[in-house]
């Protein structure tokens, strides 16, 4: 299963590189010089890897060695989803509140700890971020789309 997934990933990379090369052709001769060199170099490597990967995968499929890591794929999907949730929450609630909320969520639902500890830990993380970046380094962190709308 992993070998097949790797072939799919390499196939995706080949698509990205081809798109990169096709887009480069549209640029002026000076601007496309380096992208073309790099793109051809990457495409050659990707195709070699894809070919060897395909050969191996076909060999394994013939020997019916399928493995049973379906649960593993769910775990992969869950951690990838976590990153997407992070982006959405930070975009909506801002960096300080958003990361605080994610900390609460992680501590309560992933680590399966009590609500009180989760809320306390979330508040501490958000507080440390605010103190370090906003107070000490004077950075204006993103306040979040929802808060901006509410303030208007």
């Amino acid at each position: 299963v992993k070998a097949r997934a790797e072939v799919l990933f390499t196939g995706f990379l080949v698509l990205v590189i081809v798109t990169f090369l096709v887009t480069a052709i549209g640029y002026n001769p000076v601007a496309r010089r380096m992208p073309l060199i790099v793109g051809v170099f990457a495409l050659a490597s990707a195709l070699v890897h894809l070919t060897t990967g395909l050969t191996k995968t076909l060999g394994r499929m013939a020997s019916a060695d399928q493995g049973n890591d379906g649960a593993l794929r769910w775990q992969d999907a869950a951690v990838c989803l976590w990153l997407l949730v992070l982006v959405v929450v930070v975009y909506l609630f801002g960096v300080v509140v958003g990361t605080g909320l994610l900390t609460v969520g992680f501590y309560r639902f992933v680590a399966r700890r009590p609500w009180t500890g989760a809320l306390l830990f979330g508040a501490v993380v958000a507080g440390v971020l605010w103190l370090t970046f906003v107070r000490m380094l004077a950075v204006s962190l993103h306040s979040g789309l929802l808060f901006e709308v509410l303030l208007r």
Binding site: V30, R33, L86, Y91, T99, F106
Partner: protein
């Protein structure tokens, strides 16, 4: 040169710089001791904080943390048999058996002292190489630098621990990512897809945060286990053991020197990496020992070898990073990112106009090793507790710091999106066993390579690589690649 050396030491010994050095050493030691937090992650999380600092304190903080991570990694390797960083793998082999014998304090003291001796030797090598490097660099032009970067990526791919083709592909993807933004010659936008945010290119800090910090935390989440598996090692600090550990390093001075030399050479060679230095030094220590049969049972030489190599490697690795702007590892690539971000451009100028900064970095390397050893010897007991921090605290904190860090450098929420995207890419790299170092090195070097290419074409035409020096470099490298390939093949055949 002497004046630059004095100017360099003046830069890094101001009270502010010393304060940042101590802070960097403490942060590096603590994060190094945490299993799962590598040196590159530490630098990735510190990088955004440096955006708001002036160049000298920022570089002092980063380099000190980078140096101290080596020692921190050995603490968890010795106490719980889990290397805090990849560079402490071989330290486990004899460090942990020492702890099981009740000699943990001795092992940690050996690690601190051997690291200090190795680090100081790395410093001497770095300073001694400056005049030589200056001569070499003056003889090279844009064509040679362009060729050198491609050859360096080739070496990294060939000598790395992962597949050669995957390494080349990762390097190519890194270079491709560096092409996003305005073209340096015509200023026309490339791969920006109408987004103004991408006109300045992909933000390096956000990429580093996503690619290293987010990826590692995702992996910890997936495995769903705490890395800090405390076994029956009870750490009781004892002054006599600490003193014995310090003496061990000097009793086995031959091992210390030989393994430091191994680390130095591995550090200079691009692509071999810290783990290779650590393991090669362990093998070297075993080979030169009078009692090789004691290895694996908690012999001091088994800790001296890897730890002295770990720290001497940093001096060696700084030589190509500073002189040619070519980092040999992902950690050095992040340091290079910091140098560029702070307005210090590595390359020929670092050995001429900015020689005092080069000396400053060399001094930081030496002083940070001294501070790290002092902290290690004095606070080993306290530091040991950090290896037992559960991942349920670690993961959200790293995500929170990383998110803020990805936002800070451009003050745009796009940075968080970039970090998340490269977190996913890094996760795929990890799952499918792609090496990360070539990608990040390609990304960091991308703009410099393009600059050299345009200059070379303008000065010597499209056949610039046929100039004698460039052609010589290409032929010598091809010769080495062929020899290495044939040797590997012969070994494979011999193993059957």
């Amino acid at each position: 040169m002497l004046e630059a050396a004095l100017q360099g030491i003046r830069l890094v010994t101001t009270p502010t710089s010393l304060l940042y050095m101590v802070a960097g050493v403490l942060i590096g030691t603590l994060t190094g001791a945490l299993p799962g937090i590598t040196g590159t992650i530490t630098l990735a999380l510190l990088l955004p904080l440096c955006v708001k600092l002036s160049p000298v304190p920022a570089l002092v903080l980063l380099l000190s943390a980078h140096v101290a991570v080596e020692f921190g990694g050995s603490i968890s390797a010795i106490l719980i048999n889990v290397p805090g960083t990849g560079q402490a793998v071989a330290t486990c082999f004899d460090g942990y058996p020492m702890a099981r014998k009740g000699e943990a304090a001795r092992g940690i003291a050996i690690s601190a002292m051997a690291g200090l001796v190795g680090g100081l030797l790395g410093f001497v090598a770095l300073v001694a190489s400056i005049p030589v490097m200056r001569q070499i660099i003056m003889a090279l032009g844009p064509p040679e630098f362009f060729v050198m970067v491609f050859l360096a990526l080739g070496f990294i791919a060939l000598l790395g621990e992962k597949s050669f083709v995957k390494s080349l592909l990762a390097g190519g993807l890194g270079l491709m990512t560096a092409m996003v933004g305005l073209d340096p010659v015509t200023s026309s936008p490339r791969y920006t897809f109408g987004s103004l945010y991408l006109w300045d290119g992909i933000d390096l800090i956000a990429v580093v945060v996503g690619f290293f910090a987010f990826t590692e935390m995702m992996e910890l989440m997936r495995r769903g286990v705490s890395l800090s598996i405390a076994e029956d090692v009870h750490f009781r600090p004892s002054l006599s053991q600490v003193w014995q550990g310090v003496r061990d390093v000097f009793i086995h001075w031959r091992t210390t020197l030989q393994c430091s030399l191994v680390g130095l050479i591995v550090g200079i060679a691009p692509g071999l990496g810290g783990t290779t230095a650590n393991v090669m030094a362990y093998a070297c220590a075993k080979q030169v020992s009078r009692h090789p049969e004691e290895f694996g049972r908690g012999t001091p030489e088994g800790v001296i070898g890897p730890e002295s190599a770990n720290n001497s490697k940093e001096g060696g690795a700084l030589i190509p990073t500073i002189a040619f702007g070519i980092p040999g590892s992902s950690g050095m690539a992040v340091l290079l990112t910091a140098l560029i971000m702070l307005g210090v451009v590595p390359g020929p100028e670092m050995l001429t106009k900015n020689l005092h900064i080069t000396f400053g970095l060399a001094w930081v390397l030496a002083l940070a090793n001294v501070v790290s050893a002092a902290v290690g010897l004095a606070c080993a007991a306290g530091l040991a507790r950090f290896t037992f921090i559960p991942t349920r605290y670690l993961i959200p904190v790293v995500f929170a710091l990383g998110t803020a860090g990805a936002y800070v450098s451009t003050e745009n929420v796009g940075g968080v999106l970039v970090a998340a995207i490269f977190g996913l890419v890094g996760y795929a790299f990890r799952r499918f066993d792609y090496p990360k170092a070539p990608f990040i090195i390609g990304l960091v070097l991308g703009s410099a390579v393009e600059r050299y290419l345009h200059l070379a074409v303008r000065l010597y035409g499209p056949l610039f690589f046929l100039r004698p020096t460039s052609l010589g470099m290409i032929l010598a490298s091809l010769g080495y690649f062929t020899w290495y390939g044939m040797r590997q093949r012969r070994r494979g055949v011999a193993r059957g």
